[in-house]
């Protein structure tokens, strides 16, 4: 297909372009209770072509772009029509001029993974075995689960020398644990692994079963008021996404974010921990073909770099880093036991946690929390956390204990003082 794309680009007189070809194969199993409800396979190849056009108006240079999807089933005439229309449309996209990212031809990168030693069927079967290995109880069990194994080859070519490709295997999915001991409750959990980490999945299932047992015993919502709130698990990552989002080049260039290189991301009046954060590369090349590597984003509360793709990096006069898929936060200095020595509301499960980069608002409905009043710990459910990072970031304390989540490595818990909770 690539030859047909090049031929059509030439016919249409398109000199600046980017082609992204993706070949994806997957094996998928869908379970309800202890039955396989559906099995699926996928084998698809797609290409996305961006046609760029440089033009001037009133002495100002612009670079416009329009993107189209191309498939093998299209005739050469159809592809040429698509490209010609895209090139024409790019002439109305008045974005300030920038150069396309310039790169070189690289050999195919096979992303190292123990998953590549197995077939997709073996992978999806192996992880399904791990998923069900803990499903041996009467009162708490897997309600349903989906497991996907995928092998994806991505090839990125542009008119300024980029010609890179990589192949990556991944297994991911989700499961729901139900507990009927007391109340009938459930917990949703997703997972993703880039290696044959079936032990980690089994441990995750075990942890979610424990959590769901606890939720079955939670009956009341916390009283409305201000709490010393502890967030754990994936919610630590979600909270950190505020800093990641605000440090993104397009947010800064468009003045949606006040961050600038070297700024103090936590503002004035920080009383507890300073934020440290490293962006983590999860693929060898970005969507524009930029080689990806881990980079320090925030050190002791200071913004060390602005991250993002080629266009906005050029506008800001900084190095393009590519778009990152993950991040790392170092361990804090205080143990979880110490963090829990004072009264707290620990929320371990929200129905849907939201972190708004613009307003700084974070929160969600509490599915399961543990309320410690200084004497006893009581499981709670209901009510909602309604906090704002602008205030909360002054009192952040990260746990010494670490966790490895999907595209995140960081402390297992973070504490914030005086967070508003709408309860009963």
């Amino acid at each position: 297909m690539i030859d047909r794309i090049f031929s059509a680009l030439k016919t249409c007189g398109i000199e600046d372009y980017q082609i992204t070809m993706t070949k994806e194969e997957s094996a998928e199993l869908f379970f309800i209770k202890k039955e396989l409800d559906m099995q699926r396979r996928k084998n698809v190849t797609t290409a996305n072509v961006s046609a760029y056009r440089v033009f001037e108006e009133d002495g100002v240079r612009f670079r416009g772009v329009a993107s189209v999807s191309v498939q093998e089933s299209q005739t050469q005439q159809e592809i040429e029509k698509l490209f010609s229309d895209a090139y024409y449309a790019a002439g109305f996209v008045k974005n300030r001029y920038y150069d396309l990212y310039a790169g070189t031809k690289e050999e195919l990168v096979e992303v190292k993974s123990t998953l590549s030693e197995k077939t997709l069927s073996e992978t999806v079967q192996g992880f399904s075995q791990a998923l069900f290995a803990e499903d041996v109880h009467e009162e708490v069990f897997l309600n349903s689960a989906e497991v996907f194994a995928r092998c994806c080859t991505t090839h990125i070519i542009n008119s300024r020398g980029v010609d890179v490709s990589y192949r990556k295997n991944r297994v991911w999915g989700e499961f729901v644990v139900q507990c009927v001991d007391g109340q009938d409750v459930e917990t949703y959990q997703d997972f993703a692994y880039d290696d044959w980490n079936t032990d980690a999945l089994q441990e995750k299932v075990r942890g979610v079963m424990d959590l769901t047992r606890a939720r079955a015993k939670a009956k009341t919502a916390p009283a409305a008021g201000e709490y010393r709130v502890i967030l754990t698990g994936g919610y630590v990552k979600e909270l950190m996404q505020y800093y990641v989002g605000r440090a993104e080049s397009s947010m800064i260039y468009q003045k949606y974010s006040p961050f600038s290189a070297g700024c103090d991301v936590q503002g004035d009046g920080v009383l507890k921990d300073r934020v440290n954060l490293t962006m983590k590369a999860v693929v060898p090349f970005s969507g524009e073909g930029i080689p990806m590597k881990d980079r320090e984003l925030v050190k002791d509360g200071k913004l060390m770099m602005i991250h993002g793709g080629n266009r906005f990096a050029q506008y800001l006069g900084i190095e393009p880093t590519g778009d990152f898929g993950g991040c790392k936060v170092p361990a804090g200095k205080v143990s979880l036991d110490e963090l829990k020595a004072q009264p707290y509301l620990e929320v371990v499960n929200f129905s849907d946690f939201q972190m708004n980069d613009f307003t700084g608002h974070f929160g969600g409905e509490i599915r399961l929390g543990f309320l410690y009043d200084g004497e006893k710990v009581v499981p709670v459910t209901g009510g909602s956390v309604n906090g704002n990072i602008f205030e909360a970031q002054k009192t952040l304390v990260f746990s010494k204990e670490m966790q490895v989540e999907k595209n995140f490595e960081g402390p297992r818990a973070v504490v914030m003082e005086r967070v508003l909770v709408a309860g009963v």
Binding site: M38, Q39, R41, V44, G64, Q178, F350, V421, A422
Partner: protein, 476 residues
């Protein structure tokens, strides 16, 4: 005018028929869903303009579904010709089917009957006034640029105004032994998002628009930019709300979020199969005020989730979910209906040909009532008018509410005071909220500017809405 048939589907149909027949020679049941879809997105803000095809919604591809006498399996692919038929049959027989040979200990394959396959042959298309493809990228970008400029010119406190629109023209062909159906659907949606800043904080106000049709939608976006910009400015002086239970009037977009997130997900009957929905125990019982009638269906309204048959070849329907407060029925895909011994309701939907079909909502709404909006506001001594639904999450198992709205306008002694609170989290127990509905307006609006996920994936286009409703809601 009616949306035209896909030339590609016409061209590839002989190969599809050959593949269907080959699969039927191997399996007792086989069906094929073919899709040819083009979707484009446009956006304009102060420093950025974009035109692109939407990868999730664009593409040509196929799903083969087969029944081996026990259960179902699917193969998604996007390259097909008559020469490749044997290759695909081999992939199904040798790659797909053996996947269930090694199941975890104690796990077995589900045992299903064969899907009903009563004869159905038809072709139909939705209607539009202006074809966005013919209208052209230049004019669409030009219109959105004017909207964006108008929003930015509204006040020097406005940071940016993002105007956007997208459309999908989608043709589908469903083939089984006895069914040969084709549909061609065009929808368009768009919106405007105005941002204003106060120190570190950026507040934004958003309004979405949609229709089953084409570029005629663009008029509506332009007409509303001023009110959205004013809301963004008003939000700069907003405060967090004191938590508590209040009498509220919900604008149709907030009504829609309650209908969809708080209740609609709970009547998706694949959740009944998994025992994940409390609603299963409430069929035939009162779950809402007697004033409430709720519908879902691709044939229940003409909006972005309208179609003629679903992704499993089941004709679209209008399902009366709640009848005067009584839960009458859920909605289902074909496989869930078989499991439960009910009739499928035409709600089996896929994100695209690459994905599995699940029970999904379509156009979901409460019926209009007879109250005037001004009477509803006047009836409140202290409470709020809730506007701008921003996000929501389902909890079918426990009927917990997790919805967020951007604006709560204070009502005191039956009048809006001008004071606003933001952001607002709605919590509580779904039947408590629905049973507290005491007034329903005579105006009703549906909108489908966004997508609905199943959990955190499987995005499909939906619309929701209805009238203004008055209810008691816990806000925080």
């Amino acid at each position: 005018m009616k949306v035209k048939q896909s030339e590609y589907l016409k061209r590839v149909k002989p190969a599809l028929v050959k593949l269907r027949d080959r699969l039927l020679s191997e399996f007792p049941y086989a069906s094929l869903l073919a899709q040819d879809s083009t979707a484009k997105s446009y956006s304009v803000s102060k420093t950025s303009t974009g035109i692109g095809m939407d990868a999730m919604l664009t593409g040509r591809g196929f799903v083969a579904k087969v029944y081996d006498g026990t259960s179902y399996a699917e193969y998604s692919f996007n390259e097909l010709s008559e020469d490749r038929v044997e290759e695909i049959v081999a992939a199904v027989k040798n790659g797909l089917i053996p996947m269930s040979d090694r199941l975890p200990e104690g796990v077995k394959k589900s045992c299903y009957a064969m899907l009903a396959d009563d004869p159905l042959v038809f072709e139909d298309s939705t209607e539009y006034e202006i074809d966005p493809e013919e209208y052209g990228d230049e004019k669409i970008i030009g219109r959105l640029t004017k909207v964006s400029e108008a929003g930015r010119a509204f006040s020097d406190k406005v940071l940016d105004c993002h105007a956007f629109a997208s459309y999908q023209k989608c043709s589908k062909l469903f083939l089984s032994k006895n069914r040969d159906m084709e549909q061609n659907v065009l929808w368009m949606c768009g919106g405007v998002d105005v941002m204003a800043s106060r120190g570190e904080e950026v507040k934004d106000s958003y309004r979405g628009f949609s229709l089953l049709g084409g570029a005629e939608l663009l008029d509506e976006i332009g007409e509303n930019v001023g009110s959205v910009a004013q809301n963004a400015l008003d939000l700069l002086s907003s405060e967090p709300i004191p938590p508590g239970e209040y009498e509220c009037v919900c604008r149709p977009d907030v009504t829609g979020m309650i209908v969809h997130e708080a209740f609609g997900h709970g009547v998706e009957m694949d959740m009944f199969v998994k025992n994940r929905a409390l609603a299963k125990q409430y069929v035939g019982k009162q779950v809402a005020s007697e004033l409430v009638n709720m519908h879902d269906g691709a044939a229940a309204a003409k909006e972005v989730a309208s179609y003629f048959f679903d992704d499993e070849g089941i004709p679209a329907q209008d399902t009366l979910v709640i009848d005067h407060g009584i839960l009458k029925a859920g909605i289902s895909d074909a496989q869930s209906a078989m499991h439960l011994g009910t009739d499928p309701t035409g709600n089996g939907r896929r994100e695209n040909y690459e994905r599995k079909a699940y029970t999904r909502m379509t156009n979901t709404y409460f019926e209009a009532g007879s109250d005037k909006v001004e009477d509803m506001i006047a009836s409140i001594s202290y409470g709020f008018l809730l506007e701008e639904a921003s996000s929501g999450m389902e909890d079918p198992k426990n009927w917990g509410i997790q919805c967020m709205v951007n604006i709560a306008r204070e009502i005191r002694d039956g009048k809006l005071t001008g004071k606003i609170y933001s952001p607002i989290v709605l919590t509580g127990y779904v039947p408590d909220l629905l049973k507290s509905i005491s007034m329903i307006s005579d105006v009703s609006v549906l909108c489908g500017s966004g997508f609905c996920g199943k959990g955190y994936k499987e995005w499909v286009k939906v619309s929701d809405g209805g009238p203004y409703i008055k209810a008691k809601i816990r806000l925080g």
